[in-house]
């Protein structure tokens, strides 16, 4: 079986159509033949009846009044017809001249029921024979009945060539065969066109799919006059394309961000190592270079961790595990991680926590978010500046506000602090190592936890981040 849909359709419809056409042809032929034979038989029967009328019973003797026969067809030497008449005892009463000494087969057993048979005539031509059995006509019927004499049974057979019918049937068969062949040819052509037309949308769809550029997933499949059967396929494909496009775009942006943001620390690492190796140095200098490299590596690792976390969060791979979390406790825990840095930068910290503030949320995610906010504040506050940490709950939702002094951001720039990376040509507020990623991650976490985050800057350089969970 061919694998092409068109081939299959064409083959099966062609076979079906040929079968139907052939059957119709055969049935028509048989009907015609039967009709012709019926007519032929009717004329044979008429002839037989005419002959039967010549059989007469006189007393016990049955006779065939041959002198009354005026039927030259039984006498002509060329293509004659035949008849033969038998008495009840089977002896031949009469036979046509054309038979000379030959015999026809006796046909028919029952009175009044003609029997027919096709076969060979005595001279070898194809022909058809009818046989009837009848009672001989009595010359004086009433007298015979009185004397208890019954009319005797006489059998009569008439045979005649069927060349006419055969010719007609042959012509008919040839004609129908020709019509059959032409019809099949025309039908196959029409079928091919119809099948191709019918499958054209599928073919177009296949072409459209083939034309899709793997590097450009923004393309969608649009098929004018697409049949209803193909609409679900097209819709699903477009959905799939859109999802792939989204994922691909996200992936591309992510890789670009990573590559871009890792370049600077990587340059730091490479240059530190290259410069360090450029000449022989005191061990202390090597130690310093190694320590610098370690610091850079740790920053890079933190960034890679954060980026991966962010990528997973954006792909929706992180599950949320809600439990009862004390915001105040979590905040003080997070502060421990950045306290050393804050101390080194001589930052002054003010706390204002309303107790109790207990939320049902994912502890680890919230910890990460709070850590990022605190780390951002400590990193960006001016040396010797202030950090103010406030938290509480209102209407069953927790809130936390972290403010640091010394921000140089403009209100326009504040709107972009949640972008994954600080992009564009505007000045960055600080080294790109911290900016963008931490708060972008935080916004994502807060969103996953069903909360909201906002940032603002006041005229005197107070940068405020607020989350509501």
């Amino acid at each position: 079986m061919t694998r092409s849909l068109r081939g299959r359709l064409l083959l099966s419809t062609a076979i079906g159509a040929i079968l139907v056409l052939s059957a119709a042809g055969v049935i028509l032929y048989l009907l015609m033949r039967a009709s012709l034979l019926r007519e032929f038989d009717a004329s044979l029967l008429a002839k037989a009846r005419a002959l039967a009328a010549l059989v007469e019973q006189d007393g016990d003797r049955v006779k065939f009044e041959f002198e009354n026969l005026n039927m030259p067809e039984f006498e002509r030497p060329d293509r004659p017809e035949y008849f033969q008449v038998w008495r009840a005892d089977g002896s031949v009463l009469a036979r046509s001249k054309s038979l000379s000494a030959g015999n026809l087969d006796r046909l028919g057993e029952t009175e009044g029921l003609p029997a027919h048979r096709s076969g060979m005539l005595p001279d070898g031509r194809r022909g058809r024979q009818i046989g009837i059995v009848f009672r001989a006509r009595q010359e004086d019927e009433d007298e015979n009945r009185e004397q208890g004499r019954l009319a005797q049974l006489v059998a009569l057979a008439v045979a005649c060539e069927t060349a006419g019918i055969d010719r007609t049937l042959t012509t008919l068969a040839l004609l129908m065969g020709g019509i059959w062949a032409v019809a099949i040819a025309v039908m196959l052509g029409v079928l091919a066109v119809v099948v191709r037309r019918g499958l054209r949308p599928a073919e177009q769809l296949a072409n459209r799919i083939g034309e899709l550029d793997e590097s450009d997933l923004s393309a969608r499949i649009e098929l004018a006059d697409a049949p209803d059967e193909l609409m679900p396929v097209i819709q699903r494909l477009n959905d799939l394309l859109r999802r792939m496009d989204d994922a691909f775009t996200r992936e591309k942006a992510f890789s670009a961000d990573v590559a871009h943001e890792l370049r600077t620390p990587l340059a730091g690492l490479r240059t530190t190592l290259e410069v360090g190796l450029a000449q022989t140095r005191e061990p202390a200098r090597y130690r310093e270079a190694l320590s610098d490299c370690l610091g850079i590596t740790q920053q890079m690792q933190a960034m890679v961790d954060n980026l991966l976390w962010l990528a997973r969060a954006e792909a929706g791979q992180l599950g949320i595990d809600r439990e009862s979390v004390d915001l105040a406790e979590l905040l003080s825990g997070c502060w421990q991680a950045v306290a050393e840095n804050a101390q080194r930068r001589s930052l002054h910290v003010e706390w204002q926590i309303e107790r109790p503030c207990v939320l049902a949320t994912d502890r680890e995610m919230l910890r990460q978010a709070l850590h990022n906010i605190l780390d951002n504040a400590v990193t960006h506050a001016d040396t010797g500046g202030r950090i103010r940490i406030e938290a509480g709950d209102a209407d069953g939702r927790g809130w936390c506000r972290v403010a640091n002094t010394g921000s140089r951001l403009t209100p326009q720039q504040v709107q972009r602090v949640f972008d994954r990376f600080w992009r564009g040509d505007e000045a960055r507020a600080d080294t790109g190592m911290h900016f963008g990623l931490g708060l972008s991650l935080t916004r994502r976490i807060v969103a996953l936890l069903g909360g909201a985050i906002s940032a603002d800057v006041t005229g005197d350089g107070l940068f405020v981040v607020e989350i509501r969970i």
């Binding site: 871009h260 943001e261 370049r263 600077t264 620390p265 990587l266 340059a267 730091g268 690492l269 490479r270 240059t271 530190t272 290259e274 410069v275 360090g276 450029a278 000449q279 610098d292 610091g295 850079i296 140089r408 600080w422 040509d425 505007e426 000045a427 960055r428 507020a429 600080d430 080294t431 790109g432 190592m433």
Partner: protein, 224 residues
């Protein structure tokens, strides 16, 4: 030769400064755009190595302002932005070269040296003054085929004089191109170093190489 490094990522800035200093450059460095503008204003730098994403003023704006102010210092942009668009924009704003992070320090050095040659209108990294040869790539000096051992500062001074061989070089020029911004040498330190150089490159019986123009400065090689 004096270089200004403007890079906001401190570990990279530190490494580049160290590498350039060890290669004999007088280096000033800053991580802030505003500060960089102030540094670059006096035009004493032979090359400015400029990062694009900076706090204060971003690199491209800074470069545009320098060029608008008529500053002709050669600028090499050193950035993580690597797209064709970024590079074209950087060069179109007035940068002389563009290097993408991460880079090989060797390449940064070579590009800075190429910019310096361009500034002093010389193509050959080997400068010849009489029988004195200054190889600015290997930083080796020969006099009459013999190697002359010089300290980093002496070499820097000689290279500066050699790049401007035949022209008058004032003490202020030397001051501004061989010393970092923050150094505060004694007033006669240039004369002292010229003295050291003379001792090392001039031999009794050979013609003088460094000529003093009293009250003005020095000329290496033949007088104009």
């Amino acid at each position: 030769m004096r270089v200004l490094v403007v890079e906001d990522y401190a570990p990279l800035r530190k490494a580049v400064v160290q590498g350039l200093e060890e290669a004999g450059f007088a280096v000033d460095a800053t991580g802030d755009g505003q500060e960089a503008l102030w540094y670059a204003g006096d035009e004493h730098y032979d090359v400015i190595v400029l990062d694009l994403m900076l706090p204060g003023i971003d690199g491209l704006t800074l470069l545009k302002r320098l060029r608008e102010a008529g500053n002709k210092t050669h600028v090499l942009i050193l950035t993580a932005k690597d797209t064709l668009d970024d590079r074209v924009r950087g060069l179109n704003v007035g940068a002389d070269d563009y290097l993408v992070k991460p880079f090989a320090f060797e390449e940064l050095l070579a590009r800075i040296r190429a910019l310096i040659r361009r500034k002093y209108d010389t193509k050959d990294p080997l400068i010849r003054v009489g029988d004195l040869e200054v190889d600015t790539v290997r930083r080796v000096v020969h006099r009459g085929g013999e190697v002359v051992e010089l300290t980093a500062r002496e070499y820097a001074l000689l290279e500066f004089l050699a790049l401007r061989a035949g022209s008058l070089v004032t003490r202020t020029d030397i001051w501004e191109h061989v010393y970092e911004f923050h150094s505060s040498p004694e007033s006669n330190v240039v004369d002292v170093y010229i003295g050291y150089l003379r001792k090392k490159i001039e031999r009794p019986g050979s013609p003088r190489l460094i000529h003093t123009r009293r009250g003005q400065g020095y000329v290496l090689g033949d007088c104009p």
